[in-house]
């Protein structure tokens, strides 16, 4: 009976789980099927967990149950309580935990099989060379994912500067560090022959890998964090796959490889949306040079009150709202919609221009505006709406900066040259709601703010929008 379970039931259920993962990911690539896709993937996970517990048979479940309950509570509460605006950093954090888990599993196996029994032999001779090597890779990739994701989390959360931190000679330092980690890892697998040494070297490998992850992400600017998170997500898949090699578990190998490969493709798609390459994002310290080179002094900036802006809106026949991260931070999506409703009631045509990387993650604005019940068809993608700015009376930019920077098209020397942007300046009047003249993630000046047809309205996005709503209401009542 047990043998039948081990040799038939468990592998078949694992296969079922793997197939459901594939169908789940596939479903997630279409709006219509996305929710079902996610449910299928979750079901696949449930099958995998139950099957594994079946496979373990009668063991001491105390640690397992404790771990599942603690992890489930933390993950569940965090996921249900997080604000929609903070979604990107939440994903980064979860991803870090996934990578960390893979590193911990591999370390646990090394302790269980080599350190604790006290064998005087190398891990390679005890576990087999391939298992010892993949255990090292699992620790390395998992730890890089963990520390890299934490840095991405801190940068997105604003608890750490979003601008690139460049240490001198970083490419040399990183090269040496990588070489050192590889050497320590090979020594761990094939060289260390005493249990105490194995344990010690394992910790050294994990420590070095954590430093590699930190150094990999700190030179990358806040604007590129979405790409970084997607890339780290791909890495956490790879770490899981390596753990699968250590354990000889095909389901882990398959699911990890799926996430690794699809994550890489998604990363690539996101890079293309920003007209960048992955290498450029990871190694160029983007944003720094621009911040030093370009002047940040502004001249000819005109600041207006919500009252004056409301008068422009009142007279406009067509208005395009351009949401950006400022809208997200201020939680102003509902107020934006209230304003749009008000204008529409007066017969104004209102639509929203969605830049593919507005906010801190692709699709960020879609999620936020959907939360505020903005109808789907009102959200217009960049390529469709760009020709429409010419015939638009007023554009209302809410906390967006780099995605409407004309320098991307007009200044070939700009760091963001070539990045597709929303051509808002073609509209008759451009209104910019912004807290201050501080630069966006790219760290560069936006000359749009100096244009003659631009009105700056300084303040918190939500407060300004609320002001606009009451002013428009008053004007409507007066008319």
């Amino acid at each position: 009976m047990t043998q039948f379970l081990d040799s038939v039931v468990v592998p078949v259920l694992y296969l079922l789980s793997a197939v459901l993962f594939i169908l789940g990911i596939k479903g997630l690539t279409r709006v219509r099927t996305a929710q079902r896709g996610n449910a299928l993937a979750a079901l696949a996970m449930l099958i995998a967990i139950v099957t594994t517990l079946l496979d373990l048979g009668l063991v001491d479940f105390r640690w397992i149950i404790a771990g599942l309950i603690i992890g489930g509570l933390i993950g569940g509460i965090a996921a249900l309580r997080v604000e929609m605006t903070a979604m990107p950093e939440m994903v980064a954090l979860f991803n870090g935990f996934g990578g960390g888990a893979s590193a911990l599993v591999a370390s646990s196996i090394i302790w269980l099989e080599v350190v604790e029994p006290g064998h005087v032999a190398t891990p390679a001779s005890i576990m087999g060379g391939d298992s010892a090597l993949t255990a090292f890779l699992s620790i390395f990739i998992g730890a890089v994912t963990l520390s890299g994701s934490l840095i991405a989390f801190l940068k997105l959360k604003g608890m750490m500067t979003g601008s690139p931190i460049l240490i001198p000679g970083r490419h040399v330092v990183n090269g040496l560090l990588l070489a050192g980690t590889a050497a320590a890892g090979l020594y761990l697998a094939f060289g260390a022959g005493v249990p105490e040494t194995v344990g010690m070297v394992c910790l050294v490998v994990a420590g070095l890998s954590l430093v590699v992850g930190v150094l990999m992400v700190i030179p990358i600017g806040g604007a590129d964090m979405p790409v970084v998170i997607s890339f780290l997500n791909s890495l956490s898949g790879l770490a899981a796959s390596m753990t699968g090699f250590v354990l000889g578990n095909n389901l882990l190998i398959i699911s990890g490889a799926l996430v690794g490969a699809s994550g890489l493709i998604l990363t690539q798609i996101m890079c293309v949306a920003m007209n960048r390459t992955l290498g450029n994002v990871l190694f160029s310290g983007f944003g720094q040079e621009g911040a030093d080179a370009g002047s940040r002094e502004y001249a000819n900036v005109r600041s207006y009150s919500p009252e004056e802006a409301a008068m422009v809106l009142e007279g406009a026949e067509s208005v395009i709202i351009v949401p950006g991260y400022g809208l997200a931070v201020a939680q102003a999506q509902h107020t934006a919609r209230e304003l749009a409703d008000l204008l529409e009631k007066r017969g104004t045509k209102v639509s929203y221009a969605i830049h593919p990387v507005a906010g801190r993650m692709p699709g960020h604005m879609n999620v936020l505006l959907a939360e505020a019940d903005v109808p789907y068809e009102k959200l217009v993608e960049m390529d469709t709406i760009n020709p429409e700015f010419k015939t638009t009376d007023a554009v209302l930019i809410v906390g967006a900066n780099d995605v409407v920077n004309p320098a991307a098209e007009k200044d070939p020397a700009s760091p963001i040259a070539g990045m597709p942007v929303l051509e808002v300046w073609n509209a008759q009047t451009v209104m910019v709601i912004k807290r201050s003249l501080s630069p966006g993630f790219a760290g560069i000046k936006n000359e749009l703010f100096e244009y003659d047809n631009t009105m700056m309205i300084f303040g918190d996005a939500k407060k300004v929008l609320q002001g606009l709503v009451s002013e428009v209401k008053e004007l409507t009542a007066a008319a």
Binding site: I22, I25, K26, L28, T29, R30, A42, I49, L53, L56, W63, G67, I70, G71, G75, A79, M84, P88, M90, F94, N95, G98, G99, A101, S102, L104, V105, S108, I109, L112, E116, D130, G199, N233, S236, G237, A239, A240, S241, F245, L247, G248, L252, I253, I254, S255, A257, L258, G260, A261, S262, G263, L264, L266, I269, M361, G363, V367, A370, V374
Partner: protein
Amino acid sequence: MMGALLVGIYVFVLASFVGFEIITKIPPTLHTPLMSGANAISGITLVGALAAATTGNVTASNILGLFAIIFATINVVGGFLVTNRMLAMFGKKKAKS
């Protein structure tokens, strides 16, 4: 018969191809949910973690295993829930329009 390692490599390479091919075109709207969903799937390492703490003893390997289970469960539960929350908003708007 192929060795376990070779079978593993076959499986890894073929699954990678599936992963590459499965995502051809994806609307920008779904970039974040897909990333989040794929991220939850990478929590599959939980399967390995469960096998890493199977005795009641307080040993280094069990403690590492316990933390592996906690971390992986956070990834799995949190990942799928967050993805579902994001996608539920698209569902909501579709139902109304």
